[in-house]
Subunit: 305 residues, 2 copies
């Protein structure tokens, strides 16, 4: 037992689409902690190197939830503090799939292919190479805006979703804009390890139990249109778009807004300052929209809310 | 005096274009150290907040050199060990210029604008904010391939040039492919500080003295087509292209080649492993070609040459 206030299992309730009208499978109070059980993103379809995927499954990245947080209303923020991520199966898997991945179609890249990567005592094995386990929550998000039809859990956007961001890990906090009453949080698609970029299309996809503490931030001093990650030493707005260039523009605009609000800069001064410290980081380059973050060191930006 | 074997001044010899047929202003032996004096990228055109640039100057990023390294021949590598970068003027400048920068043309961004950023005792001031100086060499490269006309010093490509990469700093080593006898190294365009991305189009542009030690690597075990940076804890192939996506593909292919050579992986295995550790990083998104690097931690890749 994890000692959290609630537990929600992947078999209890999962979604494959973030929409405006999600219905809660669990309702909690602001300040409550929840244990969320997640399946691997391929839900057990690959358990051996010989099991390969001919195409991206129609339903992929099952997200456990939705979890309603009482009192969350549009205009608020939902803070998701990631307290722990525990691996719950003995191996993850890395796959290539035709039509997917940064080097899809290159002549030396074979797809489909699968490779199991055993995990033991905090260490992942890739052949003889040993990599420290450093889990990432790949898909995490909330119900979408009223005017949106919804996004499959393969897509990242302003509500979160398939952000595939290495900073979404134990010890960090992700802030989401609340678009619907209760926020309606769901998450899944964890990796035992993942590189910035997620080039082949996956990390080491693996089942987990995640402990989070959920907190509603009412009347925030700065509004968010997109997710924001807080790490030990930086604030990082996250933006997803069709191209990396567009995502960079959005993430930089969000960083500028935070810097301008704190320091009384006009936007041009904040833009100039953003060009000096921290900077743009790649989350992933393989999903239907790509994701970038703009790190602003905490030395220059305090808690914005 | 710096105690290096040679000194070359910006007033002695500078270039604005990397071409196949550069003529040496200084010739040194492999293993020699050189002090290279550089002007700020705008060569003193902005010395005050009131001095603004209506357009990018036709000649910009003056690179001090070329320096021939005796014995360097095509197929070799030139290792540039960056021993020290000393600031040689009391302030750098950050500028916006019409037609340049990530948010060029956005309604809240004013251009042209200039802002001087004083530097004193290792600290840069931006209004009341203090930022530790962490110098970057913006433009550094060698003579280009025979079949290329040449690249202005505003452009990054396989020869290096305007790479604007924060890892090109004191303590690190940059490896360049040698395309012409003597390699013909030149450098300039330093920044007192710069963010990954260089969003507004500049860091804090400033004059410096750089100490480098130059070394020819003959018959390298792995050939390079593009620059590679060695940091304390990673090897980072650097790639420049029209779009960030294309640059990511090239940098990832270079990382895959290094991993495959060391571990006996086929390209697909190396691609999968590259998707688990280190990852893609943004150097700059504002020059005529954009630049990305793919970090491979030294834990998984030893000296490749």
């Amino acid at each position: 037992m994890s000692g959290t206030d609630h537990t929600i299992g992947y078999e209890d309730s999962k979604i494959y689409e973030f929409t405006p009208d999600l219905e809660a499978a669990l309702t909690v109070e602001s300040g409550d902690s929840v244990t969320v059980e997640t399946a691997d993103s391929l839900e057990g379809a690959v358990m051996d190197d010989d099991e390969v995927l001919e195409s991206v499954p129609e339903e992929v990245n099952a997200a456990t939830g939705p979890i309603a947080v009482a009192g969350a209303t549009p205009g608020d923020l939902l803070a998701v503090h990631i307290d722990d991520i525990r691996i719950t199966e003995p191996a993850g898997r890395v796959v290539t799939i035709d039509g997917f991945g940064l080097l899809d179609g290159h002549e030396n890249v074979e797809s489909p292919r699968s490779k199991m990567t055993p995990v033991d005592d905090g260490t992942l094995s890739f052949d003889d190479l040993e990599v420290p386990v450093d889990p990432v929550i790949g898909t995490i998000g909330v119900a979408t805006r009223d005017d949106e039809e919804g996004y499959s859990t393969l897509i990242p956007h302003d509500h979160g979703g398939n952000l595939d961001t290495t900073d979404i890990t134990t010890g960090n906090t992700v802030y989401f804009p609340v678009f619907q009453d209760g926020a309606m949080l769901a998450m899944g698609d964890c990796k035992a390890v993942m590189a910035d970029g997620e080039m082949c299309g996956t990390g080491s996809e693996i089942a987990t139990e995640i402990d989070v503490t959920l907190e509603v931030v009412s009347d925030p001093a700065v509004a968010l249109e997109r997710p924001l990650v807080e790490t030990d030493d930086a604030w990082k707005p996250l933006a997803s778009a069709e191209t990396l260039e567009e995502a960079c523009e959005l993430a930089n605009q969000d960083a500028i807004a935070l810097l301008a609000a704190e320091h009384g800069f006009d936007d041009t001064e904040a833009y100039m300052f953003s060009s000096l410290v921290g900077g743009l980081e790649i989350s992933q380059v393989v999903d239907p929209l790509v994701t970038v973050r703009n790190a602003v060191p905490k030395a220059y930006l305090s808690e914005p809310f």
